[in-house]
Subunit: 557 residues, 2 copies
C-alpha cells in the first residue's frame, strides 16, 4: 500500500485535508507579527491548480507507448495533477514556485513501476532515448533533489515514482537485517517491521512522507541516529537499476575485499541509478523509551555535555540541544498549548538565571533499549549533565517533543499564506568548531535577511540546534523565519541561502549533514570534495550513466 | 623513528636475532610430527642472501638520478638486501619463494621519501616514466599486496617505502582524532599517542611490523575491533599522493554531501595512490581491561553467544571463539608452558564432557574502558554465556592469550625449517551462515591437503576461530598446518588456497575480512563485487591512475 497522491498536497506538506495548526485566530499570530516586525500579515494564498497551465507534454507517442508497454496504461500518468505533484520537492524554494503556479519545470510523464524489472526497463528506455529520468520516492527533498530538470532546456523528462514498490522481502532476525523494496513510506515500513517485533528506527522529521530509497539516496538521518545510525550506517546492501544493468552491492558483515561500494550508493541521489531494494540493519523493538530535558546556562555548556556523552560508552538514542533563540522560540510558540508544564519549568529556570547575561539552552536526551540498559544509560547521562550545572527538567519536555516530533513542517503552509517564509539548513563539524560555526552561520543568515527585508521595521529570526552527534563532532540545524519580499521571493531566498552556504564552507562545515546536495547545494560540492574527489564522482557517474540521463543537475551540478 | 631494515628478517618474521620459540629440542616437535603423520621432520633451512643472485637493476641512470634529486642519495637503495627485503610480503606463499632464493620478482630500486611532497614527486615520476610503483609500509601483507610485480614482465619497478614518514601531526582531544603520517609502525604510533593518554586501539597480530598506511590500504582489523573498529571505521580522512596530485578526502563527522570517498581509500591497496597521512579516531586509554575465557560445548553454542552479545547493547572490545580443533591445538601446543592453569581447566572441562560426542570450544571475551562500564559489560556477557551453558574459566585464559597475542607468526619460520607449512585465511558471513561456511571451508582445505601430501601417512590439520563480530555476522579465521611437498611447494599451496577460496565464494563469504585482496585473492574479486561493481572500481582506478603505474596486479588483477 502506498499513499494516493490525490490525498496529498501537491504544493505543500501532508494531506490535502488537515487541521490548520495556525488558524487565523491562533494566539501565535500576534507574537509572530511583533517578533518579525511586520506592519501587517498579508494574505498570500497559493494559486490553485485549476488556474495554472502546464507546458505541453514533450514525449512522443512512440515513447509513451513504450512506457505503457513496460508498466501498463494506468501506470503512465500525463495529467496535470501528477505532473504538478512531481514537479519539485518540498523545499521553501520549491514552494515559492509551486504556490505561485510556476510550473515550467514539470515532468512530461510520471511512471509507476511495480518491480525492479520494470524499473530497469524504464532506465534502459531513458538511456536509449536520451531522456532525463528523475527517481522520486516521497518527494520530500528540501534541496531540489527530485526537481524535474532535464538534460537540456526543454528536453523531455520522465519522473519514475517508486512508491508502488513496497514489499518487505525478507526479515533475517539472526543477522538483524531486512531486505525491503525502496519505495515504501516510513509508516508502512515500520508497521511491517514492527509486526515482527523489529524496527529500523529511522525517524526523520519527514518520516510520514519519505521513503526508504530517498533516505539512502540522500544519506538521511533519523532523529534517533545515535542509536540507529544515519542511512549510510544502517545500509547493508543495495540493488540499483542503472543504465548499465542491475547493480547489487556487497552485503558481507565486514570485508577487506577492496573499497566498499555501498558508501557510493548512499548519497548518490539518483544520479547513478534507481535504488530498487535495500538490505538494512534492524533492531529489536525497544523495551523502554526515556526522553527527558535538561536546561543549560549556555550553548557551550550544552555542547560540552553532548561531547562528553559521545565520548563515554553510553548507549543513547538521541541528544538534541537547542540554542538560546530556539529554546526561547519553542517556549513562546508553544505558549498556547494547554499542557504548559515545560513552560512553567522553563520560566522558573529563566527567572533563576535572570541576573546572568546568558539565556538557557534546552537539551533533550533520548534513551531506547532494554530496561536495564536504559536505566544505566539515563543515570550516566544525568551525571554528566548535572555535573555541568544543568537543571534536570524531567520527562515532561521529552514527552512533549516526542509527541510533536513530526509536526514542524505542517506550520509552513499557513506561515506562507501570511507573507512569511521559513527555511532550514544543516551542517556538521568537529566539536572544537561548533560554537564558532554556529555563530558564523547565524551571523551570515541574519545579515542576509536584514539586507533583504520587505519593510524597514521587518526582521528575520534564526535559531539553531544540534541534533546528531558523533565522537568527533555534531550536526547543526538552522531554522530561519522571515517576512517575505513578495516581489522578489526567489532572490531573497537565494541571497540568504548563498550567505549561509558560503559561511558553512568557509568555516569547515559540510554543505549538508542529512538533507543532501540536490540542485541547491551543488555549487558548493566541488570545494568540499576537492578537485580530485569531485573528479572521482564524475568518473563514477560516467561509468554507470554515460549518457547522463539519471537525475540531471543534481549532486554534480 | 623507524625500524632499521638490517635488523629485520628479509625472508621471515620479526628481528633477525630472536629467540627461537621452537628450538630443535622443544617438547612440541614430537607431538607435531605425530599429529601431521610425518615419518621424519626434514631439515629445510632458508637459503642465505649471499648465495642468491638478484636480477640486474632495470632503471636507467637518468631515472635513478631523478629519484636521488627528489629524496637524496641515501634514500635511494639498489643493494641486494633492500631489494630482497622489499621483494614480497610475508605470506606463506611469499616465504616459499624467498626461502628458496627465487628473487626474480624484486624491485629495481627502493626509495624512502621523508614527506608527502617527496612522495608526490616520486608518484609523478613513475607516472611520467611509465614505471610500476609499489607502496610499501611494514610489508606484512599476506596476500601479495606489496609484491614487486611490474606493469609488464621485466618492466622497471620502484618500491616506495613509507616508513620514514612517522610524524604524529596533530592530536585533537575534543574530536578524539589524530592526524598521523602513514609510515609509522604500530608500536611507535601507540607510544606517541599513549604519551598523551590516548590510543588508536588497533592491534592486529602484525602490530609490531605493520604501519598505519597499510592498515588503511588493506582494511585491516585489530584484535579489539568490537571497541575500536576496523580500519574503515576509524578512518576519518586520508591524504594521498596520486598520479593526478594530492587527494585529501572529506573529514566532517557525518555528511550528506554525496558519496563518502574515504570508503574508496580504505581497501585501495596502493592502486590509487600512496596514503601519506590519515586522520583517525582515537580513544582515552582504557582505565581497565578484562579478558576472560568461557568453554562452550560446541561451536554453534559459542556462535549463539557471540551473536547475542552483539545484539545486546553491551560494549565489548573483543569476542573470540575457537572451534574444537583450535581449542584442542591451543591446549596441546601450549602444554610445554609452565603456567598451565588454563590447561588444567581445559582438561577438567574436557573430562566433564567426555561422555558427550562433542568437543569444547574456547571463547575469550575482552572488555576495555572505564571501570564502571567494564564491570557492567562483563556481568552482562557472563549472563549470556553462562545462560547458554558455558563454563566460566576466569581471567587466566584471557591473560594468557593477551600476553601471547602477537606471538603466532614467530613460529612459522622454525616450522618452515622442518618441512612444515602453515598458512591462514579469513572471511566473514552472516550469523545464519557461519556454521555452514566454517564446515565448507574446513572440508575444502582438508580435501585439498589430503590430495597434496608428501607421503601416505601424512596429513594436515585445520582449525578456525571467530575473531571479529558485528550485528549481522562475524569473521572466520582459518589456520592450516601441513607437511610440505618439497618438490612442488607452490602447487601444493595453490591447490589448498584455490579450494578454500572457491568454497568461501560459493558459500557467500567475502574473499577477505581483513587481509585484503593483493595478488592472491584478485581472481575471486570480480565474482564478489559483480560485473558492475568491478567496473566501478576499474573506472575509479582509471580516473586516478590512467597509466596504471600504481601497484600493478593488486586488487583488480
Amino acid at each position: 500500500m502506498t499513499i494516493d497522491r490525490k490525498t496529498l498536497r501537491w504544493n505543500g506538506w501532508g494531506p490535502t485535508r488537515q487541521e490548520n495548526p495556525l488558524p487565523n485566530d491562533a494566539s501565535q499570530w500576534a507574537w509572530i507579527q511583533e517578533t518579525l516586525g511586520m506592519s501587517r500579515l498579508p494574505s498570500t494564498p497559493a494559486k490553485s491548480l485549476e488556474n495554472i497551465s502546464l507546458p505541453v507534454c514533450n514525449l512522443s507517442n512512440a515513447t509513451l507507448k513504450r512506457l505503457r508497454d513496460i508498466v501498463g496504461d494506468e501506470q503512465v500518468c500525463t495529467d496535470d495533477y501528477e505532473r504538478a505533484f512531481h514537479a519539485r520537492g518540498k523545499s521553501y524554494h520549491d514552494l515559492i514556485y509551486l504556490r505561485a503556479g510556476h510550473l515550467a519545470m514539470a515532468p512530461d510523464a510520471v511512471v509507476y513501476p511495480r518491480n525492479a524489472d520494470e524499473v530497469l526497463a524504464i532506465v534502459t528506455l531513458a538511456s536509449e532515448e536520451n531522456i532525463a529520468l528523475i527517481p522520486y520516492g516521497g518527494g520530500s527533498s528540501v534541496v531540489g533533489g527530485v526537481n524535474a530538470v532535464g538534460k537540456v532546456l526543454a528536453g523531455a523528462i520522465i519522473t519514475l515514482d517508486t512508491t508502488l514498490m513496497t514489499r518487505v522481502i525478507q526479515i533475517d532476525k539472526m543477522a538483524m537485517t531486512a531486505r525491503i523494496e525502496a519505495g515504501i513510506y516510513g509508516p508502512a515500513l515500520e508497521a511491517a517491521l514492527q509486526a515482527h517485533g523489529v524496527t529500523l528506527g529511522h525517524y526523520p522529521q519527514s518520516f510520514e512522507y519519505s521513503t526508504l530509497g530517498g533516505w539512502i539516496a540522500a544519506r538521511g538521518a533519523g532523529q534517533q541516529s545515535n542509536r540507529y545510525g544515519k542511512a549510510e550506517k544502517w545500509l547493508v546492501s543495495a540493488m540499483l537499476a542503472t543504465p548499465k544493468g542491475f547493480w547489487t552491492t556487497e552485503d558481507t558483515p565486514a570485508s577487506a575485499a577492496g573499497p566498499n561500494l555501498n558508501q557510493l550508493v548512499a548519497g548518490s541521489e539518483g544520479t547513478l541509478g534507481v535504488i530498487c531494494e535495500a538490505t538494512v540493519k534492524i533492531h529489536e523493538l525497544p523495551e523502554r523509551k526515556d526522553y527527558r530535558g535538561y536546561l543549560f546556562k549556555n550553548f557551550a555548556q550544552g555542547i560540552e555535555a553532548a561531547r562528553r556523552i559521545n565520548h563515554a560508552d553510553i548507549p543513547v538514542a538521541m541528544v538534541r540541544l537547542s540554542d538560546a533563540p530556539e529554546t526561547h522560540f519553542f517556549q513562546a510558540f508553544s505558549s498556547s498549548s494547554s499542557s504548559s508544564g515545560l513552560k512553567a519549568k522553563l520560566q522558573r529556570a529563566y527567572l533563576k538565571w535572570k541576573g546572568l547575561d546568558e539565556a538557557p539552552c534546552l537539551m533533550l536526551i533520548g534513551h531506547e533499549g532494554d530496561k536495564k540498559t536504559v536505566i544505566w544509560a539515563q543515570e550516566r547521562t544525568a551525571i554528566i549533565c548535572e555535573g555541568l550545572g544543568a537543571l534536570a527538567l524531567g520527562t515532561g519536555a521529552g514527552r512533549k517533543w516526542y509527541h510533536g516530533r513530526f509536526s514542524s513542517p505542517y506550520s509552513r503552509d499557513p506561515l506562507m499564506d501570511r507573507g512569511i517564509g521559513i527555511d532550514t539548513l544543516e551542517t556538521s563539524t568537529r566539536w572544537s568548531n561548533i560554537v564558532k560555526l554556529r555563530e558564523a552561520v547565524v551571523t551570515a543568515i541574519e545579515k542576509a535577511m536584514a539586507a533583504n527585508m520587505p519593510e524597514d521595521t521587518a526582521r528575520g529570526i534564526v535559531m539553531a540546534h544540534l541534533s546528531h552527534s558523533y565522537p568527533d563532532g555534531a550536526s547543526l540545524y538552522f531554522t530561519f523565519v522571515f517576512p517575505r519580499q513578495l516581489e522578489r521571493e526567489v532572490e531573497q531566498w537565494a541571497a540568504i541561502k548563498r550567505a549561509a552556504s558560503d559561511a558553512i564552507i568557509a568555516n569547515r562545515g559540510t554543505i549538508s549533514h542529512h538533507h543532501g546536495v540536490g540542485l541547491d547545494h551543488a555549487a558548493w560540492l566541488p570545494e568540499e570534495k576537492g578537485e580530485i574527489g569531485f573528479n572521482v564522482l564524475k568518473a563514477l557517474k560516467n561509468e554507470l550513466d554515460p549518457k547522463a540521463v539519471m537525475n540531471p543537475g543534481k549532486l554534480l551540478g
